[in-house]
Structure formats: structure tokens, C-alpha cells
Symmetry: C2
Subunit: 169 residues, 2 copies
DNA sequence: GAGCAACTATAGCCACAGCAATATTCCTCG
DNA sequence: CGAGGAATATTGCTGTGGCTATAGTTGCTC
């Protein structure tokens, strides 16, 4: 009997992470759709709504999401067309424009958030006792801090902007 | 001072999961690329290589990956064109075809796996002491079992096939 | 002040994947 | 045995997002 690489505990570990993430994302997606949003649109709304003035420069929005700058252009195009966002010229730098959440966008987010939180509680945080939950979250935080999303390549100290790279946590 | 929804611990929790996953996936992606593979191609190779006969019916491959059946058709097209896979007619059911890993595909996987494992260890499993790691993995397993990837909608008992739905863990 | 590099947003082009439609094959029931 | 329905793989169409080029803007250097 030869050793089977596929049973390697490291493979198992990433499998758990990937499948937990995928399953949760799928749950989120169906709930987003109930409110006419996609996952990226929801994330954009969240990032903007938590920013001062409900707005963010396109570049900063790209840095905070998993999108490229051109990707942000397209998403903002769609969401502006749908009335959730609008563009605003940056007074101090004519290269930049702000994406601003409209009242309609804020309303949409308010409608979507309660169900979102309910899903998180039902399928994620509520699945574990408090100690187990904090243990898992501590582990995830350590991993997150290590891989540091935003520092994709092996740069020593990216510091892409003044904003904290991961304000979500 | 009003309560800020964005500081809700549930939001923080999913943020950790999402960012840890995203960061790790990004690390994986650059290593895959060093060996001319994409993430889905690597996953396809893994799923096939661990299956008896290094083969799987297209539908079963779709069920085991995050792809739809048409998605599998395209991926297998590309990988067959690249010589990593080949199609084989199913003798017992002429509707089905097998995707079979070629020796070249197995070689590619063998070349890619060591670096993959190294990345997992460096950025994921190696970031935590053994007890913290198992605590986190136990939590992830509970969440994974709850959301049950493959049962996307609210069906009570999907049981899509005889195969275990998540052989990765 | 002129020149030049860096930055910002966008548009063109392409790859990828999902949905729906289609063709073929299998199975079950009458 | 035949008909109808389920299953399987594929293709067309579409939406999405990344990469690169481009145009406009800023700031730095000399």
C-alpha cells in the first residue's frame, strides 16, 4: 500500500476552507438574487456604505474589492444604470471620480442586510459554540493576516494606500 | 453614537473567511500558472487523478467541481487540446463519455503538487500551532457539513450520486 | 515653465462559464 | 414492442471580468 497524496492533511485542510467558502457563497448568492443583487454588487454597496460620505474613489473601491479597476468601471456602470450608485467628479483631482451610493442603493442594502445576517448566523456563526467559533475565527485571522490579500506577489511591504487593506475585519 | 451594522461580528466573521480564502487562492493561482495550469484545470486534474482509472464521467466531474456540465465540456476541450486529458467513450452507456488523465496530465500534476503543498504549509497550515489548526479545521468542517456544497438550494436530501459529495475531505 | 513619470478612469479585445436549447441514448411503463 | 420521459454531452448566446492600450491629469525635477 503506497502513500496516497490525496489524503494528505494539507489537501484536506484547503478542501475544508474552499468548500465552506463555496457553500456559504452559494447561500449568499441566492439571497442576493432575491433582492436583485449579485455578490460583487453587494460587496460594492457594503464598501461604499461604510465609507465616509457613502462614497469612494474608483481606484480605492477596486483596492477594497476583488476587482480590477476596469472591473470596477463595469460594475459601477451597471449599478449606475440601475440607480443604485452615481458618479461624482472629484473636486481636488480631476482624474478621479467618486462612486456614491444613492438613497435607492442604501435602501436596497438595508433590505438585503437582515437576510444576509440571518444566513451568516444560520449556516456559519451559529453552527459552533462560542468558544469553537472564536477559535476558528482566530485561526482564520492568522491565516488572513499571513496571506494578506492585496499583497498578491511577494512584495515585502505593499502598503497600497492609506486605507487599511482589509477594513472588513 | 449609533450602532454600526458594519461592525457586526457576523460581518467580520465572513470577512475573515472570504479574505483568507481569497488570499490563499491568489497564492495558489500564481503557482498554478508556473506550471501552465489554471485553478479549475488543477482541480480537474486532482479529481480525475484520485478517481479509479484516472477517469470520471463528465457529469460526475461536474458534480465534484464547481462547474456546470457545459463548463466541464469546455475545460475538458481545452485540456484535451493541451494533451492533459482525453475523452473515452463509455462502453456501458453511449450517452456518457469519460475524461481520462493522460500520462502527460499525471506528470503535470506531479510537477505541480509539491509546490502546492508547500504553499499550503507556508501560508495556511503552518501558520498555526497544531491545536489551533485542528480547532480551526474542526470549525470549518462543521460549517462545511452544514452548508453542504452541492445542495445549493433548500432541498432536503439532494444525494446527487453514489459518490460522496465532497471526497476532498 | 517644460518635460517626464506616475496616476486615474475608461474602452477594446479576449477568455471563461452559466443558461437554455438540441441531439442522442437509455429506461420505464403500457 | 413502442412511446414518452429522463439523462448525457454539447453548442449558441450572453454576461462578466481581466489585460492592455489610451487619453487626460497631476506632480516632480531640472
Amino acid at each position: 500500500m503506497e502513500k496516497n497524496v490525496f489524503d494528505d492533511p494539507r489537501i484536506t485542510a484547503v478542501g475544508l476552507l474552499v468548500e465552506a467558502h463555496a457553500g456559504l457563497s452559494a447561500r449568499f448568492a441566492v439571497q442576493y438574487e432575491e433582492h436583485g443583487l449579485s455578490a460583487v454588487e453587494f460587496e460594492v454597496l457594503m464598501r461604499l456604505a461604510r465609507s465616509p460620505g457613502n462614497q469612494l474613489r474608483m481606484t480605492d473601491l477596486a483596492a477594497q474589492t476583488s476587482l480590477s479597476t476596469s472591473g470596477v468601471t463595469r460594475v459601477v456602470d451597471r449599478m449606475e444604470r440601475d440607480g443604485l450608485l452615481c458618479r461624482r467628479a472629484c473636486p481636488s483631482d480631476r482624474r478621479s471620480s467618486y462612486a456614491v451610493v444613492t438613497p435607492s442603493g442604501l435602501r436596497r442594502l438595508d433590505e438585503t442586510l437582515p437576510g444576509h445576517l440571518r444566513i451568516i448566523e444560520q449556516w456559519f456563526t451559529g453552527q459552533l459554540e462560542p468558544e469553537a467559533l472564536t477559535a476558528m475565527l482566530d485561526g482564520l485571522r492568522r491565516v488572513r493576516d499571513a496571506v494578506h490579500p492585496g499583497a498578491t506577489a511577494g512584495s515585502t511591504d505593499p502598503a497600497p494606500s492609506d486605507e487599511p487593506p482589509s477594513p472588513l475585519a
